[in-house]
């Protein structure tokens, strides 16, 4: 396995939103674990950076939080996607796809020299 990349700013928010869309309401630890697992352990998430990001999303109104009880009866703060968050996810996902598509075309070998 090569170097594990740090999560870069901006994409973390997208990953959080996507995670919440896929799994429904979830606590911070669960989100962090899920992101690591999904990346196939290619990403190293410093769990500490997650909480300011969550707070920022909440301030922007994309997610909401409430206290609940976890599977093993522990009190935890659960985050869930809001309507605005869903829209934002669609928008950001589209933009991201566009960006990667453009980059992919640039990087595709030999097309323009042919």
């Amino acid at each position: 396995m090569g170097e594990r990349a740090d999560v870069w700013q901006g994409t973390l928010a997208l990953m959080v939103l996507k995670t919440l869309q896929a799994l429904g309401p979830l606590h911070g630890y669960g989100i962090a674990r899920r992101i690591e697992q999904t990346s196939g352990d290619l990403l190293a998430v410093n769990y500490g950076t997650l909480y300011p990001a969550l707070l920022k999303l909440e301030q922007e109104g994309y997610i909401a939080s409430e206290w609940g009880t976890s599977d093993n009866n522990r009190k935890a703060k659960y985050y869930k996607l809001t309507r605005a968050g869903r829209k934002q996810l669609d928008k950001e996902a589209r933009e991201w796809e566009q960006t990667t598509e453009i980059l992919a075309r640039f990087l595709a070998p030999g097309k323009e020299s042919a």
């Binding site: 769990y47 500490g48 707070l55 522990r74």
Partner: protein, 884 residues
């Protein structure tokens, strides 16, 4: 919108701090526990599970800090912290706080006060529609000076010029309102478009109409709001009613709004104009001629036309008119004075100088505060060192100190604003007549903004040096046990530099004030040409059917004078058409037999005084040669006049003027013969050289004046006599109002009021500056004595004499004073030339002033140093060595 929501959220987070902290801790804790649980499940030992979880979280405190940064507004939060801390610091040192706040209150308050003055008088736009397009249009005389114009000229200007939207005229008018108690009013006669030119509409009734502005039409007036309230009980039915003015009937057609400001007048001491009548001229009237120059033109430029363009156009028109009437003008050309300059131009230099002076006071206050702070800085070194050791960044410390200062400055500003509250009253006492638009001097948003700006600037300016000094990381030394607050060489140099600049700044102000005060005393020392002491004056306008012929009018004054002279306590009494320094000038062409120019308009002109016999006596104006006019000079005898010395010298150099003949105000009237030469009288101002003057007997002048001023020289107390004279005149005719009952000295006072105003203010600022500087010197010496108590103790223990200790301190003082004074002299020499226009008979570099100011400053500085130095000499070596 997203960011706005975020910010509101964060702003909200400033409150409910504790609950949020608890929640954050709980969230972190649950995260950790879940992670540990998972790790245990993966087979780690309990310790390892916890360690791994903590590492993955990246340090709980760090995470919390990051979280907090996202949660609140760190800048604002620390600002609140700083403010709270600053408040506590100031409360803990009440002595320091009071001195600092008072110093700042003086500096900021004085600045705000003068700024409110500049703002109200100069900066605020005039209260008329688009005032920047309004201008006075003068004719130019052969000396290039602005002058009034005759009606015929105005007719030509109006017909030919294209630069003006409106061109109106006004002339002086002081009608007597004869409804109920007679009262002399201050008024203007204006062309019907006058208020349209200004852009003002009556509140009730209507404006003048063109068809009313003709000689034969009925007479109409518009009232000022104040007059309407005072004399007509604010009765709106006054419109269309008749009132009696000067024994004729006038119809009131309008009342101006209460917010109309009456700034334009012809009589500088007459108070605001309250009544306007139509001019009612046409070109056929004898007094509408080109040389009948008694009218002032005010115009509104068309949009887009500049003053230069309008001036050029008017110059062309005026040249053409002069070509057609070469004998009716002395020169071609016009002068445009923007209305603003006309109304307030004469005070702007003085006001800006005062603003400059008062900013010096603020600088001194800043320097003083900086000095105080520097001294305190040494005591706070430990505090700052501890903060630095605990990780405070330098910028954070600087910011905290600056916040402390700005808080001080804000307190000072608030105290200063209290001072400003009384400014208008104070200024009214000092300069009522002299400053136009005093009513507009208030604290408005501009003034508040100015104060805020000044306060912030002050806080930062005075705080920078101490802040940087304190924030310097001298951790090591300061934390050491028992280390004294060592004052480094730099900080001592900075403090000395501050005191030197204080001395220099005060010196400049003192020199300025000294020069103005000397000018004032020079002006007051000028002999007016008459003796103003023990003379009572009162003005009367005699009018009505009973005085419609010259003989009756003359008879009235003759009998009034006879009765007044009979009163006990009256030495002599007379009447004159113009009272010296009264602000009214009446100039006539002075055509000397044998020396009349081809164009008589080029002949000199002279001030006319129409007087009764006994005037020279009552005023104590010296008669140099010939004889005074007397009762024997009547309408049937030879026409005689007196001329002043200047006239004699310039018209008949080397000749005896007695017996020479002149024509006055045109060539169509008979000759007048000079019978006497009298002293020059200062009529336009004590600081203005007298011009040519002549006196003609009221009994001989073909149009005897009805508006006259009594001058009564008294032997006894004036007050009792005043009512006696009033009763005497009342007994002759109760319908004639007396106005401006005042001693002749008051006219002298009025004429120097503006000069006195600026001198007193500048002197007050200089005194404050001197006081603050003395405080600065005192502070620095006291401080260095305190710092060196131990050193002085050792020296004295080793046998040093008190004098030697004194010499030690003296050395520092001498350096401060010598540099300060040297700098001050240089700065004063450079700056006083801006005062030149306000000086009289004193050069800006007047050595006497400079020398006395240096002595004063050195004396005060010596006193400020001597008090703490004396304390140093008395230091008991034992006590000093135990000190600290």
């Amino acid at each position: 919108m997203k960011w706005l929501r975020g910010w509101l959220f964060r702003l909200g987070a400033l409150f409910g701090e504790q609950r949020r902290e608890r929640e954050l801790a709980a969230e972190m804790e649950s995260h950790l526990q879940m992670h540990i649980q998972d790790n245990l499940g993966a087979g780690m030992s309990a310790t390892e599970a916890r360690r791994e979880a903590l590492m993955k979280l990246g340090g709980i405190e760090q995470t919390k800090e990051n979280y907090r940064a996202q949660r609140g507004l760190p800048l604002l939060e620390t600002l609140f912290q700083d403010l709270r801390f600053a408040g506590r610091m100031l409360l803990k040192n009440p002595g320091f706080t009071v001195v600092a706040v008072l110093t700042l209150a003086i500096g900021i308050g004085a600045n705000t006060a003068i700024f409110s003055l500049v703002n109200g008088v100069l900066l605020r736009p005039l209260p008329y529609r688009e005032p920047s397009r309004l201008t006075i249009v003068w004719g130019k005389d052969d000396r290039g000076k602005p002058g009034n114009l005759g009606y015929a000229t105005y007719v030509d200007w109006r017909a030919q010029s294209k630069s003006f939207e409106e061109l109106a005229l006004y002339r002086s008018w002081s009608p007597v309102l004869q409804t109920l108690e007679p009262e002399q009013l201050s008024g203007l006669r204006v062309t019907n478009n006058y208020f349209r030119t200004l852009g003002v509409h009556p509140q009730f009734g209507r404006d003048f109409r063109p068809e009313e502005d003709l000689p034969a039409s009925s007479q109409v007036v518009i009232l000022g709001n104040g007059l309407w309230q005072r004399r007509f009980n604010s009765d709106p039915r006054i419109i269309g009613r008749a009132i009696t003015l000067n024994a004729s009937t006038y119809i009131v057609v309008g009342v101006l709004p209460a917010n109309f400001q009456s700034l334009i007048s012809m009589d500088p001491h007459g108070g605001p104009v309250e009544i306007w009548g139509v001019l009612g001229y046409d070109a056929s009237l004898p007094w509408a001629c080109r040389t009948c120059q008694h009218l002032v033109a005010i115009g509104r430029l068309r949009p887009g036309v500049t003053f230069t363009q309008a001036n050029a156009e008017m110059d062309t028109i005026s040249s053409a008119i002069w070509k057609d009437y070469p004998k009716e003008y002395s020169a071609a050309g016009v002068i445009l004075t923007p209305l603003r300059d006309h109304l307030v131009g004469h005070v702007s230099a003085a006001l800006y100088i005062l603003l400059g002076a008062v900013s010096f006071v603020l600088l001194i206050a800043c320097a003083n505060l900086a000095n105080l702070l520097l001294a305190r800085a040494n005591h706070r070194q430990r505090e700052m060192a501890v903060r630095t050791a605990l990780g405070a960044a330098r910028i954070r410390i600087v910011r905290q100190l600056l916040v402390e200062n700005c808080l001080l400055a804000a307190l000072g500003a608030m105290a200063g604003l209290l001072l400003v509250y009384w400014t208008p009253q104070l200024l009214r006492v000092l300069g009522e007549d002299e400053l136009p638009r005093l009513g507009e001097v208030t604290v408005d948003s501009h003034v508040l903004l100015f104060t805020l700006g000044v306060a912030l600037l002050t806080g930062i300016l005075s705080g920078l040096a101490p802040a940087f000094r304190l924030s310097k990381p001298t951790l090591h030394d300061s934390l050491k046990e028992g280390a004294r607050g060592t004052s480094t060489g730099t900080s001592r140099r900075v403090r000395n530099l501050l005191v030197i600049s204080e001395i220099a700044l005060s010196m400049t102000l003192l020199v300025g004030a000294g020069l103005l005060l000397r000018s004032l005393s020079q002006v007051l020392g000028v002999s007016a040409g008459f003796d103003p002491n023990h003379v009572l004056t009162m003005r009367i306008s005699v009018l009505g059917q009973r005085y419609n012929d010259n003989q009756k009018l003359r008879q009235f004054f003759a009998s009034a004078l006879a009765s007044i002279r009979a009163l006990p306590g009256v030495q002599s009494a007379a009447v004159t058409s113009q009272i010296p320094l009264g602000g009214n000038v009446d100039r006539y062409g002075f055509h000397v037999e044998g020396k009349i120019h081809a164009n008589p308009e080029l002949d000199e002109s002279a001030e006319r005084f129409c007087v009764s016999p006994g005037y020279l006596d009552a005023m104590r104006i010296r008669l140099f040669s010939g004889r005074d006019i007397s009762d024997r000079d009547t309408s049937t005898t030879q026409q005689t006049l007196l001329v002043n010395e200047t006239t004699a010298r310039s018209m008949w150099p080397g000749e005896d003027p007695i017996g020479k003949r002149v024509k006055l105000g045109g060539l169509d009237l008979p000759w007048w013969t000079v019978v006497g030469v009298v002293a020059d009288v200062h009529h336009s101002g004590l600081d203005i050289a007298p011009t040519m003057q002549f006196y003609i007997p009221h009994a001989q002048w073909p149009f005897p004046d009805s508006d006259m001023t009594f001058t009564i020289r008294t032997a006894g107390p004036r007050d009792t006599l005043t009512s006696a004279v009033q009763q005497t005149i009342h007994a002759l005719d109760p319908t004639q109002p007396l106005s401006r009952v005042m001693p002749l000295e008051d006219y002298i006072g009025l004429s120097v009021q503006g000069r006195r105003f600026s001198s007193i203010l500048l002197a007050a600022f200089a005194a404050v500056a001197l006081f603050l500087s003395a405080l600065g010197i005192y502070g620095v010496t006291t401080y260095s004595v305190a710092q060196r108590t131990r050193e002085i103790g050792i020296r004295m223990a080793l046998g040093a004499q008190p004098q030697e200790v004194f010499a030690l301190l003296l050395r520092q003082w001498v350096v401060l004073v010598v540099f300060g004074v040297a700098l001050g002299v240089a700065a004063s020499a450079a700056l006083t030339r801006f005062l030149a226009s306000m000086l009289f008979d004193v050069r800006p570099s007047d050595p006497a002033t400079f020398v006395s100011v240096v002595f004063l400053l050195v004396g005060v500085a010596a006193l400020a140093c001597w008090i703490p130095a004396r304390r140093a000499m008395r230091v008991d070596p034992i006590v000093a060595l135990r000190y600290e």
